[in-house]
Every structure is written in C-alpha cells, then in structure tokens.
C-alpha cells in the first residue's frame, strides 16, 4: 500500500532563516506531487505541483520554491523566511497520468511552521 511521509511535524524558525520541508511517498511510481499551505482557519492554497522529476509548476509567486530531486521526493524550500510564511504545510500525492485525473489526493500529516 502507498504511504506518504512528511517531516518535521512542527517547526519554529526565526525570520530570515532558511527552510527545508521534505515529503516522500512509498508504494507508487511517478506520482503527481503537491505542496499546499493552510493559514489558520483558512482553506488550502496550492503552492506547487509536480508531474515528474525536475518538473515543478508554481501556482503562487512567493518566497518559496520546490524541487523534486527523486521520483518520490518533494522538497519545499525558502532561502529567507518571512512572518507571512507561517502556516500548516501539506504534501499530497495522486496517481500519475492524465487518465487518472479523477483519482483522489492523499495527504501527509502536515508540518506546522511558525516563523517568529
């Protein structure tokens, strides 16, 4: 069966510090991968998605970047965090290929980031 791992679960970082959040998926190949952010009490904002190694689509121009160095690894980064980067970051995967567009998203447990 497929599993998704995100770490760390919580993170407190000062303004201006770098960020690296990692997400890995097991049990499937070439998944579509996603990073979402959720501000307190708000809905989910799609940040990045990837359909393959090295292929990253950015949805919202901001202080963050994403990379996919391996098939089942998705990394969210920032060189200098802002206060507004605080939030709940969620990684998700779904089956690959356009024929599976209606397959559901499977989410990790998220990382709660507080920028102080």
């Amino acid at each position: 069966s497929q599993t998704i791992h995100q770490w760390p679960a919580t993170l407190v970082q000062p303004v201006g510090s770098p960020l690296s959040l990692e997400c890995t998926v097991e049990g499937t190949s070439n998944p579509n991968l996603y990073w979402y952010r959720q501000a307190a009490g708000r809905g989910l904002q799609l940040l990045f998605y990837s359909v393959g190694i090295g292929q990253i689509s950015s949805e919202v121009p901001q202080n963050l970047s994403a990379s996919r160095p391996q098939d089942r690894q998705f990394i969210l980064s920032s060189k200098k965090l802002l206060l507004s980067d605080s939030g709940f970051y969620l990684c998700a995967w779904k089956l690959p290929g356009s024929s599976s567009y209606n397959s559901p998203l499977h989410f990790g447990n998220g990382t709660r980031l507080t920028v102080t």
Partner: protein, 111 residues
C-alpha cells in the same frame, strides 16, 4: 477550473442527517465532483466522488442533479466525530493535475 461555492458553516446535532450543498455553475463536461473532509491539524481525507446522479459509499452519499451545476453531500446520522471542514472540489481533466480547494464548510455537530 470551475469555481465552487459552499456555506461557510453549518450546525447539527448528533443523530441527524446533514446535507451540504455546493454550487459549481461553470462545471465542464469532463469535470468530476469530489468531496474531502479535514479534521484540525490533519490533511484532508477523500470522502466521495461522482460525475452524475447518486453515489453512495460507507461514509456518505453524493447527489448530483442532471444539470450538474450543484452537488449535495449527505452525511447520515452524524456524530460528534463528524465535526470537521468539508471541501467540495471540481476536478478537470485538462490540466487536471491541479487540484484547487475552496474555503470549505465548517460543520459543528453538537451533543
């Protein structure tokens, strides 16, 4: 992508049936309607998905009228543990890699 509109919040009592309606007037022919549930500090969890008419699983039912411009998620006999945010999404085939969430409906189930 079709925009969705849901009530911001709903209240219910244990044992009642809850119906959450979502409007998606610009839904396209190949779009699917999908619902997720999210508990605090957790990622959303897929509940149910449909294209037209009625779909039922062990958790919920999804009713979609013929014009598909709306859909209704029905939760039978809710319990306190059904308190969560429920998201309605329309997923499009073209560029369907993108999945956009709206604000969702916050359901409070009271004892």
């Amino acid at each position: 992508l079709a925009k969705t509109t849901q009530p911001i919040s709903m209240d219910s009592y244990e044992g009642q049936e809850v119906n959450i309606t979502c409007s998606h007037n610009n839904i396209a022919t190949n779009d699917y309607i999908t619902w997720y549930q999210q508990f605090p500090s957790q990622g959303p969890r897929f509940i149910i998905q449909g294209y037209k008419t009625k779909v039922t699983n062990e958790v919920a039912s999804l009713f979609i009228p013929a014009d598909r411009k709306s859909s209704t998620l029905s939760l039978p006999r809710v319990s306190l543990s059904d308190t969560a945010v429920y998201y309605c999404l329309v997923v499009r085939n073209t560029g369907g890699f993108k999945t956009i969430f709206g604000a969702g409906t916050r359901l409070f189930v009271k004892a």
